[in-house]
Amino acid sequence: MAWNQPGGNGKDPWGNRGSQGPPDLDEVLKKLQAKLGRMFGGRRGGIPGGGGFRFGAGGAIGFGAILIAAIALWALSGIYIIDPPEQGVVLRFGKLVRTVDPGPHWRPRFIEDVIKVNVQTIRNQDIGFRRQAASVSSVPHEALMLTEDENIVDLQFNVQYRVKDASNFVLEVVDPEITLKQATESAVREIVGRNTMDFVLTEGRAQVAAEAETMIQEILDRYRTGLQLTTVNMQDAQPPDPVQEAFLDAIRAREDQERIINEANAYKADIVPKARGEGAAILQRAEAYRQRIIAEAEGETDRFLKVLDEYRKAPAVTRERLYIEAMESVLAKSSKVMVDVRGGNSLIYLPIDKLLGSRPGSADEDSEIGAGRDRSVPQTSRDDAARTRSGLRERTR
């Protein structure tokens, strides 16, 4: 155990004290010698100086000397030291008289007893598991406990404590440290039993530990164990081994859920803006079409109106000219066969395929009936109109 058994004889005061005693001790001895000498040995004992002990010189003197030595030994053996982390509980004939702090002290041996208790060192108790060297092994019957919803959780606690009150620790309870363990188990199980598994395993961990600390301390005080908790750590809060896999899978499922949703959101984030872009493109194309079609219409009608103006000045001629130009253009570009056999009953053989092969196709750009643009390099319409007029004049002659 951490504290010495009553009597504290394990540490021999002689060994510790050594050189500190002698000066005072000599005086004490001399005084004692003097007193005892007067009592027992009459005159002789009073001789001052270094007469020393003369064993065997006379019965009374010898007896007195032995007695003095015995008393000296007794006095010396009463010296004890309390080490810094300790406190001493002093019992006089079994009755608690005081507790003493670290330092050298003296007590009358056989009358007073000292029990040393280490009150500074933080002690440790593991519940639900045991440490052996580096490895940690679970203790199921301590670790597994029922929750409110009749599930079983696996909790591992580590309780740290120190002795608060040395006299209570020594005097009041049969086994304070077993009591601590009982209190811890009892408190933790009571608290866990009041809560659901989910709570205990997740957000309630800290709360369970905190409640346990309060409850354990309260129990320890009620039992006067003299112990003070310093920390209650919940080392581990898990579902029990047999269901571990299912729990992990549930956690993975939650992740999967997140993942599936995120993927869907990513899909959405991908296609919706694209669709918006495409929609805008459609509108732009439509707008382009609209503007184009209007512009074309305006262009076309402009052109028509120009021609119409001129037409009105000389309708017959212009009509004729336009017709002939159009037919010219048509016939110039097409393959044609003139059949000038009126009412003939003879069959004409026309090898169309050969006709097709004989002339290379001549695609033409936009050359509509108009101001004779197909006969000249592009010019402004006003010029065209003027030219047309002059041309018309020529032809009418």
């Binding site: 009892s186 899978d249 439509a286 707008e287 219409a297 119409l308 009509r319 003139m338 001549s362 050359s367």
Partner: protein, 287 residues
């Protein structure tokens, strides 16, 4: 002479030793004179007695720990639970303690344990596991303390506390609890995944819908715009062409001919009797 002194001192010492006793802080003591209880209630310290005729019994005065083996109890649903409890007590009335147990801590423990077993059996027999584990745990412990206190007076002890440590299911039942927990987790896992799938599909469908709607609306607006354009173009055409419908017909027809026959693969079989060929055979243009 000296020898007599020594003998005298030794005898006195022996008598002295026999006539004092020490009561430790951790003990309570009882003085018997020839088998009859003479005095109790000693303070810790040094006390005297007559040698030989009186003797002193000392008992542990510290808080005792009764921590028996776990016991099985049946709950109201006929389920077994393992219960591990402990009782903290101390000797209060030395005289009664001595007479009722012979001063034996073990015997006192046995008596108290019997009370614990009976009390817990009653308490568990009228409650469900759920109540035992959570709801009425404190109540059960309080009642246990009360029951023990009734017995305690008889034993001359004081009950400091009684608590349940473990309230657990037996091994075999535990296994079925584990199975149930696993099944629950599997259900939860399935639900998580399915709900994820559900929301994922909703989101995708919504996205698809949005895309369709956006495109369709754009198409609609586009058609409106095109229609507007067409309308405007038609209006422009109509305004212009209605100025001379007959000429327009000519103009447009001629353009159309040109556009239609503009390739050498267009083969025209012609008779020279159209206006175009008026002069083809006759410079006077006569028929």
């Amino acid at each position: 002479m000296n020898r007599a002194y020594i003998i005298g001192i030794v005898v006195l010492a022996v008598i002295g030793a026999l006539s004092v006793f020490i009561v430790d802080e951790r003990e309570v003591a009882l003085k018997l004179r020839l088998g009859r209880i003479e005095q109790v209630g000693y303070e810790p310290g040094l006390h005297f007695k007559w040698p030989l005729v009186e003797n002193v019994l000392k008992f542990d005065a510290r808080i005792q720990n009764l921590d028996a083996d776990p016991q099985l109890y049946l709950t109201v649903e006929k389920k077994n639970v393992i219960v591990d409890s402990f009782v903290k007590w101390l000797v209060q009335d030395v005289e009664r303690f001595y007479t009722s147990t012979g001063g034996s801590v073990l015997r006192a423990n046995d008596r108290l344990q019997a009370v614990v077993v009976k009390q817990l059996r009653d308490a568990f027999g009228s409650r469900t596991i759920q109540q035992v584990v959570s709801g009425e745990r404190a109540e059960i412990m309080d009642q246990l303390v009360l029951a023990l206190k009734r017995q305690a007076d008889e034993l001359g002890v004081a009950i400091i506390d009684a608590r349940m440590k473990r309230v657990d299911l037996p091994e075999r039942v535990s296994q079925s609890v584990f199975d149930r927990m696993s099944a629950e987790r599997k259900e939860v896992a399935k639900r998580f995944r399915s709900e994820g799938e559900e929301r994922g599909r909703r989101i995708r469908a919504d996205a698809d819908k949005q895309r369709e709607v956006i495109l369709a609306e754009s198409e609609r607006d586009a058609q409106k715009i095109r229609g507007d354009g067409d309308g405007r173009a038609t209006e422009v055409f109509a305004n212009a062409f209605s100025k001379d419908a007959e000429f327009y017909a000519l103009y447009r027809s001629l353009n159309s001919y040109k556009n239609t026959f503009n390739n050498s693969s267009d083969i025209l079989l012609l008779e020279p009797n159209s206006q175009f060929f008026r002069y083809f055979k006759d410079a006077q243009g006569k028929r």
